[in-house]
């Protein structure tokens, strides 16, 4: 659940979610669940001319499976900590497998 844990720290931050259908949505990350479903508020679609039907949408719930990328604010990510969290996860999984 590293990603869940990770994304939880990014709530209330502005992120850009790129979907698998090429729509990029920037908004405030309101919440995320263990399926990595994402709730965004105050959204802006990056290529608004191409997707005019989304121009009046203010908030969205995105199913985790349709997300391609999430662009994060770099200053909100503690890389050292993230590396350690990855190591812990790997250790835990190794422990489980053994």
């Amino acid at each position: 659940m590293l990603f869940f844990s990770f994304f939880k720290t990014l709530t209330q931050q502005t992120v850009t979610v790129e979907l698998k259908n090429d729509i990029s949505i920037r908004g405030t990350l309101k919440s995320v669940d263990q399926y990595l479903n994402i709730k965004l508020d105050d959204i802006v679609v990056l290529d608004e001319l191409k997707y005019p039907h989304l121009s009046s949408v203010k908030n969205v719930f995105i199913r985790g499976s349709v997300v391609r990328y999430v662009h994060l604010p770099p200053d909100k990510v503690d890389r050292g900590l993230l590396e350690d969290a990855c190591r812990r996860e790997a250790m835990a999984q190794k422990g489980k497998a053994a």
Binding site: S5, F6, K8, Q34, L81, A85, R87, R88, M91, A92
Partner: protein, 823 residues
């Protein structure tokens, strides 16, 4: 004829006539067999999907194709068409011919029923499939499967068996609504009971009940067994959480063997269903108080949503149900004492009131199917299981591991919303508390508590069951590449776990030994090993027991154990760092520790390592770095390529990282080191490394600056003996002699290339310790650069100029001069 040229002949005008079989023209003799099988399978496993062909009773196939005779009358064909009215005739007398056709159908149906008496209740008109898959929802008692599949509810379906069809004297055979079609079994036609029918049946049953009571018959015959499908479960106090089988002895007519038909457990939690007259209730007086005390509405607040919000309850169903559960015969009431009776009646009135209220609140009932609710309940429980699963773990570290990043990040930077230190396990309790408030209501607080307790028990069971069956998480299919894992809340996406066989690992391992110990992969592995131990060490440090108190053997022992573990981990870390691996002079392979430092994450580990090791180990590391100063990536690769004023970006980043991570550690140590150590280090530097390489780099110069400064400061503080100082001076002279020809080359680029403060710093440090003669040589060596910088600063904006001049002045002042003097 047709405007568009279509064939406008209606199907009924084609050869078959109005009562032809239409779509069902092929009478397949195997249909019946397949159907029977499917039906059986359906009853064994209700999740079987039915299709029309399987459930179609085939009656249509048996119909004779009769009634064509009047087609001509109807449609004006043939000779009679041109009778008295000539041509037009009865062309539009649809009713007449239809009536004749329907008569024919009825006749046919009658004949068929006589031929096949066992099918008499299946009316020939019912061409519709008998089972649509939805008629279950018309059954007010139907609760599909309210239990999470984890088997958490130890209440097994098979432990409670209703009567079996094979026991004809058992009137409760009617429970086998889904049993295989037996002659005396309820007819399939009754499955299609509408709401009104159910209502009527209940009324009829209530009347029959009253009649039976009036007669006081010990074994009242039950007139309409098939219309009342519920088992007599109210005889059993609901014991949904009892792990073992429910007590059977009271229930002699109920056959112990588990039914092979549809799972009866769906009836088990329905004490509020209208009661069923039962001959056993009189035989069991001992059970009565329990029945009275038993709250029939408890199930209404049970987490299984489908229990209470059953679709299609008759409007007065709940109220009726309230009177039912404990006492079914007035005689029973008479047998009770006055107080008991009053208590019972009061209870009864309360129940009725509450039931009425519930009924009023139940307007939205039935919007969701039992399956929907079941599904949601499962999701919620699964999440609870996940949450409590971590909290139930005896090791609190597990929850930290699970949510490490979030918890630590929250502590470091402040949580965005929630309490940062709130352990995961509390979420479940919070959740339970909330549902308790919501479900229990204000008045029924005791009931709400009870509900919460039961919910907690269920969660506990779910957790235990989940723990007991870890192997169910994976499925290994024969011949597959790996295991298929099922998803759960923790790992929502199923994974394909590739089986890794030890044998396949063995071969590369033997080959790997020949690989150099310092190839990239090995180094990275070493670094990861260091990090792993480092994290263990940090965890261990966090779990440090409170300082031992005098006389408390336990605390002292705990502390000793902790120290011992700490020591073990420290040793492991030290070995993994490979600092003490033998140094092979002239080897092309870098020392493992130096290789370790050549990776960014190796550099990043240094501050954390330095914090956890002792002074001696720090000195060892410092010595290793000094000895290999010209082999570090930050010095070796730092010389800019020809034509460039700077090393490549990647190298610059590494240098930057090194100065930010490793240098402060070393500086911290050196700043406290005695002079003899500084002398020793500088000696190693001069003897073992190539000063020409080291002096050309930022890190090398920084290191030398560090040592020289420390020596000067030691001398200033007056703790240096003459002998040591002589040693130092000799060493300094050697260094100076080596450096002198390089002074002009120290600056990597032309004067306008910027970042040269570290060089001026170094020159200043050299200048402080230099003798007047050496200072002279120093000035000669860098004179050109000083002049250039001063010249250039005149063309720069004032702020930048002052910075540049300040840098130069750093050096100039060290040797007693000032840029101002250069004018």
């Amino acid at each position: 004829m047709s405007f568009f040229g279509f064939d406008t002949t209606l199907p009924r005008d084609k050869a078959g006539g109005a009562n032809s079989k239409g779509f069902f023209e092929h009478a397949n003799p195997f249909n019946e067999v397949a159907k029977a099988r499917k039906l059986q399978a359906f009853q064994d496993n209700q999740e079987e999907v039915l299709d029309f062909e399987d459930t179609y009773d085939g009656l249509g196939d048996q119909l004779q194709e009769a009634g064509d005779d009047f087609n001509d009358d109807t449609f004006g064909g043939g000779a009679e068409g041109s009778n008295d009215r000539g041509g037009v005739g009865k062309d539009f007398d649809f009713f007449g011919s239809t009536a004749q056709v329907s008569t024919a159908i009825e006749e046919e149906a009658m004949r068929y029923n006589l031929q096949y008496p066992s099918r008499e209740t299946a009316p020939p008109q019912s061409r519709k499939p008998k089972k649509t898959g939805y008629e279950k929802y018309q059954d007010p008692g139907y609760i599909p499967e309210i239990e999470a599949k984890s088997g958490a509810w130890s209440h097994k379906p098979s432990t409670h068996s209703p009567g079996q069809p094979s026991q004809p004297e058992d009137i409760h055979v009617s429970t086998s609504r889904h049993t295989a079609p037996a002659p005396e079994a309820p007819q399939p036609g009754t499955k299609m009971m509408s709401l009104e029918e159910v209502e009527a049946a209940l009324l009829a049953q209530a009347q029959a009940h009253a009649r039976a009571q009036a007669a006081q018959a010990p074994q009242p015959p039950y007139p309409q067994p098939q219309v009342f499908p519920f088992p007599v479960d109210h005889m059993h106090p609901p014991q949904p959480y009892q792990p073992g089988p429910p007590p059977m002895p009271f229930n002699q007519q109920h056959a112990p063997p588990p039914p092979r038909s549809a799972s009866p457990r769906r009836h088990n939690r329905m004490p509020s269903q209208p009661s069923h007259p039962s001959q056993t209730s009189q035989l069991r007086p001992a059970q009565q108080p329990l029945q009275i005390l038993q709250n029939p509405n408890r199930a209404r607040h049970s987490p299984q949503p489908s229990v209470d919000r059953v679709q299609g309850l008759p409007p007065y169903g709940p109220a009726q149900a309230g009177a039912a559960p404990g006492i079914t015969h007035p005689q029973q009431l008479l047998d009770l004492s006055e107080a008991q009776r009053r208590a019972y009646l009061e209870e009864d009135a309360k129940r009725a009131k509450r039931n009425h209220k519930i009924f009023l609140l139940s307007k939205g009932n039935g919007l969701m199917t039992p399956q929907d609710k079941n599904f949601i309940t499962r999701i919620q429980l699964q999440q609870l299981v996940t949450a409590t699963g971590t909290s139930a773990d005896p090791n609190p570290e597990a929850s930290l591991n699970e949510d490490f990043y979030y918890q630590v990040y929250s502590q470091i930077r402040g949580a965005p919303r929630q309490h940062p230190t709130q352990p995961l396990g509390h979420f479940a309790q919070t959740y339970l508390f909330q549902t308790g408030i919501r479900g229990g209501g204000r008045r029924q607080h005791a009931n709400g508590d009870n509900h919460m307790q039961r919910m907690q028990q269920q969660v506990q069971r779910a957790v235990e069951a989940a723990k007991l069956k870890p192997k169910n998480k994976q499925l290994i299919i024969e011949g597959s590449l790996g295991k298929i894992s099922f998803s759960n809340a923790k790992t929502p996406k199923p994974l394909l776990n590739i089986k890794r066989q030890d044998s396949s690992d063995a071969r590369p391992a033997s080959g790997r030994k020949e690989v150099s110990p310092s190839d990239r992969k090995t180094i990275l592995k070493n670094i990861e090993a260091v990090y792993t131990t480092l994290m263990r060490l940090e965890d261990h440090e966090r779990q440090s027991p409170p300082p031992p108190t005098e006389g408390d053997a336990d605390s002292i022992q705990a502390h000793l154990d902790w120290r011992q573990k700490l020591q073990e981990l420290n040793t492991a870390l030290w070995q993994e760092l490979k600092v003490l691996d033998p140094i092979v002079p002239g080897s092309s392979i870098p020392h493992p520790f130096i290789a370790f430092l050549s990776f960014a994450k190796g550099k990043k580990a240094m501050p954390r390592i330095f914090r956890l090791i002792d002074q001696e180990q720090r000195l060892t590391i410092l010595t290793m770095i000094v000895v290999h100063l010209d082999q570090l990536d930050v010095t070796k690769d730092a010389r800019p390529a020809a034509g460039d004023s700077q090393p490549t970006l990647a190298v610059r980043e590494e240098i930057e990282l090194f100065s930010q991570t490793v240098m402060p550690c070393l500086l911290q140590y050196v700043n406290e080191a005695p002079i003899n150590i500084v002398i020793g280090l500088l000696g190693l530097l001069v003897e073992r490394t190539s000063i020409a390489v080291v002096a050309m780099t930022k890190i090398g110069l920084g290191m030398m600056t560090m040592l020289l400064t420390r020596a000067e400061l030691s001398k200033e503080s007056g703790v240096v003996s003459d002998q040591e100082w002589q040693q130092w001076t000799a060493l300094y002279n050697r260094l100076f002699d080596t450096l002198e020809p390089l002074l002009g080359l120290l600056f990597p680029g032309p004067v306008n290339s910027g970042d040269d403060i570290y060089i001026w710093q170094f020159l200043a440090t050299i200048g402080i310790g230099a003798s007047p003669d050496q200072q002279q040589r120093l000035v000669i060596g860098v004179k050109d650069r000083v002049m250039e910088t001063v010249q250039q600063s005149k063309t720069l904006p004032p702020e930048m100029a002052s910075v540049r001049l300040g840098n130069v002045n750093l050096f100039m002042r060290a040797i007693g001069l000032d840029v101002e003097m250069l004018g």
